[in-house]
């Protein structure tokens, strides 16, 4: 080390660091005691005064754009509870119109009526002999309903929705509807159609 550096080193060595001011000492002490995060009464008063000023509301257009951003996002309200978006919201448990079932019912009713009305009695009033009247056979070639049934194909858990102030589990059930028709020649026609039904089951709340 040359002489100049030695001189510099000596000059630096005589300097003494300034002492910590009282505010810093207080702060270090409070940090060591774990009380630094505790506010004084005066600080709490100022905090509460400032709290009285509410942040400005979101401008309406901006609010609407944020709503659009979030519209397709499910809203979880708990570990197991998720609010659905419009696209996947479960419909209410209302049985939908089932054309095939309705057709089968109408046809069965028609067939039953035909069985009860004696031949040639159309348009006339007849109150006797109905029970002993032989059963009419269906017209040759005409199909009449022979049976109707449905069975569950799959059932799946679709999550939980919030309705009527409580969570409900949505169960999606896929049925397979089957109807068969037969004609006088003994020919049988079977028709199958899937049907989906959503069922809401109230969830247990602890």
């Amino acid at each position: 080390m040359n002489r100049d550096l030695h001189d510099l080193e000596s000059s630096l060595a005589v300097l003494r660091p300034t002492g910590a001011d009282s505010a810093l000492l207080d702060r270090l002490e409070a940090a060591a005691e774990g009380t630094l995060t505790k506010l004084t009464a005066a600080e709490l008063r100022l905090e509460s005064t400032l709290c009285g000023h509410r942040p400005a509301a979101l401008p309406a257009e901006f609010f609407a754009s944020l709503e659009n951003v979030l519209a397709s996002t499910p809203f979880p309200v708990g570990e197991k509870i998720v609010m659905f978006t419009k696209g996947n919201v479960a419909p209410k448990n209302v049985r939908r119109f089932r054309p095939m079932l309705a057709a089968a019912a109408v046809a069965l009713l028609g067939a039953a009526t035909a069985l009860l009305v004696p031949p040639g009695a159309t348009g006339t009033k007849s109150g006797s002999g109905m029970a002993s009247t032989p059963l009419p056979r269906p017209r040759v070639g005409a199909f009449v309903p022979a049976s109707y049934g449905n069975h569950v194909q799959t059932a799946s858990d679709e999550g939980v929705v919030w309705q009527e102030n409580r969570p409900h589990r949505v169960v999606r059930v896929v049925y397979n509807e089957r109807a068969s028709f037969i004609n006088g020649d003994g020919k049988r026609v079977e028709i199958e159609q899937p049907r989906v039904e959503y069922i809401l089951v109230p969830e247990k709340i602890d």
Binding site: L50, R54, P55, L58, V69, F75, P76, G87, V89
Partner: protein, 189 residues
């Protein structure tokens, strides 16, 4: 805007959530950026990130973890935006733009205003803007974001003791500024 009955359960829940938390998040974004437009952009980007994570199931934690996540995301996005702006300002002459920006910002107050305390609100907002940003951000998160020092520390990457110290220094500085205004007689706080 849709009526409540048109909304799906999630949209309705999001609306309530935005009404409750949107203003405080926007306030934080305003403090982190230079303009209302920038603040809205980064708030929207932060919410998009959150929504994406919720949709894909990547988000870790429940609803209580959303605000810490959003504060952190807003801060990071603001830093990125500030870097891009700095580079742009170095390339362009923005003297006229700065003046224009200040004028426009005056028409977007940070706080709700009632006629009786408009002066107080203006003074408070001006004092907050004058504070060193590292103090102002802690004050905004603590008072209007209702975050704890531990949560603030986590969002800012500092210890809770540092967050508390910054808060205290910030409050003292704010009090001095507001005290000056009070002595001048233009403040009721």
């Amino acid at each position: 805007m849709n009526t409540a009955t048109d909304l799906s359960p999630s949209a309705s829940a999001w609306r309530s959530w935005l009404e409750a938390h949107g203003p405080r998040l926007l306030l934080f974004a305003r403090q982190q950026t230079r303009s209302q437009e920038d603040a809205q952009d980064i708030l929207q980007d932060a919410l998009v990130k959150l929504a994406e994570k919720l949709r894909t199931g990547e988000f870790v934690g429940g609803q209580e973890a959303w605000m810490p996540y959003l504060y952190t995301a807003i801060r990071r996005l603001a830093i990125d935006l500030s870097r891009r702006d700095d580079r742009r300002r170095r390339r362009e002459d923005t003297v006229g733009l700065e003046a224009d920006l200040d004028q426009r910002e005056a028409s977007h107050p940070w706080f709700e205003s009632e006629a009786s305390d408009d002066e107080t609100r203006t003074q408070l907002e001006a004092s907050l803007k004058e504070l060193p940003p590292k103090f102002a951000e802690v004050i905004i998160m603590k008072i209007w974001g209702e975050r704890t020092f531990a949560e603030i520390g986590e969002s800012l990457g500092i210890s809770q003791n540092t967050a508390a110290s910054r808060y205290r220094y910030g409050l003292e500085a704010l009090q001095r500024k507001l005290g000056g205004a009070r002595r001048k007689g233009d403040l009721s706080i």
